[in-house]
Assembly symmetry: C2
Homo-oligomer: 313 residues x 2
């Protein structure tokens, strides 16, 4: 499907970092950025920028903090724009330079529906500094519709660049994506939409396609699907699907063979039965990650029954 | 989605056998059949029945031939009907008892579009013996539309029970499934449709859901997605998705934990990069299987370029 407005957004390091505390070596990140640039990827999200007063650099790799000097060691000015993510409630407003002094082009603010006012406050600060701003509303499969509608209406009144539809728990299938995409489009006229899917039920790529079909232009993927738990939409499938001549899947294949085959054996993201259980039941995958470490009984059937009988985990 | 007409069709042993020459031990197959029955699965396809004059029982396990006595060792009369598959051109017409003397309820005839007359000839023989009959048209992503249309029209004139839409190469995405499902429905009024998807691009489950949405009632899955190359739609996801109260996903979880975790390490089905390449390029996965064995150069990028430059493989 060739639609020139479509932007491919890679979050390999940012979302993959959830599996290794963002301890990627700089030569790897540099190689990844360079490969993404050659693949024609529009944005590369290199990590989070969390408040150092809340999280110690001793406990995490550099991509938890994304200092300018670290970013400049791995990225360079080119058509692939550097993005970072920040969480509502974990961000030091003073950690951001004016955009024209930074290598960062886009900041994505991750929020839950009840924190939308805080997200807008932070987004306005970032927009004022000259960054492109996206608000990524997480866990909408747990949101009350009236609250989500109000959040979208508030975002519609901002000058932010994009709003993301996020399937945090890998719960949605196509008809739900269609319903949400139509809702976001109707309440956010003139704003670009993005979609970020998780693969708990092997639907991340499919749901991303459904987003594209409904008019969403910003589509997230990660190399070989790396990401928390079951991971994300595999970037190689997404680029293989898009017919825009600027994209080239080969550099992504090369990165996978050079780094991600072995990394997957170590970090173990991707489809596994406990993630299917949490996906089917619309639960956070942290319960599945605990099950894989031996908590929550011995069998997936027991795990399934346990999750059925709790209000939330 | 609760639609009582939906029938879940398991082909774990039949399609999984493509990965181990159908050498499943009888206690395992018996356990699988029993678990499927407890899960509420409507059909269990236990293997192929190929002509023994063409394939020697010395070279394959029993589920390549599915003799009545072997089937009766592992299956029993219950709400889960026994199915077997036979290929056009590889079938001994005399190998079938009258249906009322057989434990088999359904025979699925696998054919390519150009062999549709042979498939209909075989199907009529089987229907005459009293079996339910399905015709599964393989590789439709390589068929000329006018030929496919004619094949469907011919099938529409038979008294066969079902016709299957098959994505042999894991090439289709939702809009193509919709287009084909609408075509099959329009040309086969009054006949049940089935869908059988492969997972080369992680779209098997998603495409099966799209088939359901378009009105297809017979949906194929295999336990933990076992099957040739990237495998099939995972039965546990399919049953987790369907809301019909007769289905229970727990026996499938239990079978996976008892047998299929370890089996997957040995037989290595599921998503791998070379299968993504053949899926993206609408090629038979045999090229990817050869690549994984060291044929076709050293890197997936080279493999991709090689397949781009051949007319077919």
């Amino acid at each position: 499907m060739y639609r020139p407005e479509i932007k491919v957004f890679d979050c390999t390091i940012r979302d993959g970092g959830l599996m290794n505390e963002w301890r990627f070596e700089k030569p790897l990140v540099k190689d990844v950025f360079d490969g993404l640039a050659r693949a024609g990827v529009d944005y590369a999200e290199i990590g989070y920028r969390v408040d150092k007063k809340m999280f110690s650099p001793k406990d995490f790799g550099p991509w938890r903090f994304c200092e300018e000097k670290d970013l400049r060691d791995v990225a360079y000015e080119c058509d692939t724009k550097v993005s970072i993510m920040c969480d509502v409630g974990r961000t030091d407003y003073d950690a951001f330079l004016p955009a024209d002094e930074s290598i960062v082009r886009l900041v994505r603010v991750a929020t839950y529906v009840p924190d939308i006012d805080k997200a807008i406050h932070l987004g306005k600060h970032l927009k004022g500094l000259g960054y492109e701003v996206s608000v990524n509303i997480m866990a909408v499969s747990h949101a009350l519709e009236v609250d989500l509608d109000e959040a979208l209406d508030q975002l519609g009144e901002t000058n932010f660049d994009m709003v993301y539809l996020v399937d945090s728990f890998g719960y949605f299938y196509s008809e739900q994506i269609h319903w949400l995409a139509e809702k976001y489009l109707a309440r956010l006229p003139g704003k670009e939409l993005g979609i970020h899917c998780h693969n708990n039920q092997q639907l991340a790529f499919a749901n991303t396609i459904e987003g594209i079909i409904k008019g969403i232009n910003y589509v997230d993927g990660t190399i070989y699907g790396i990401g928390r738990a079951a991971g994300n939409c595999p970037l190689e499938l997404l680029i293989g699907f898009l017919k825009n001549p600027k994209f080239d899947v080969r550099p992504v294949f090369d990165l996978i063979e050079k780094y991600f085959f072995d990394m997957k054996k170590e970090l173990r993201w991707g489809y596994e039965l406990p993630y299917a259980v949490t996906g089917i039941l619309n639960k956070h995958p942290r319960a599945a990650m605990a099950f894989l470490k031996g908590v929550h009984g011995n069998s997936c059937s027991e795990f399934f029954d346990e999750l059925l009988n709790v209000d939330d985990v």
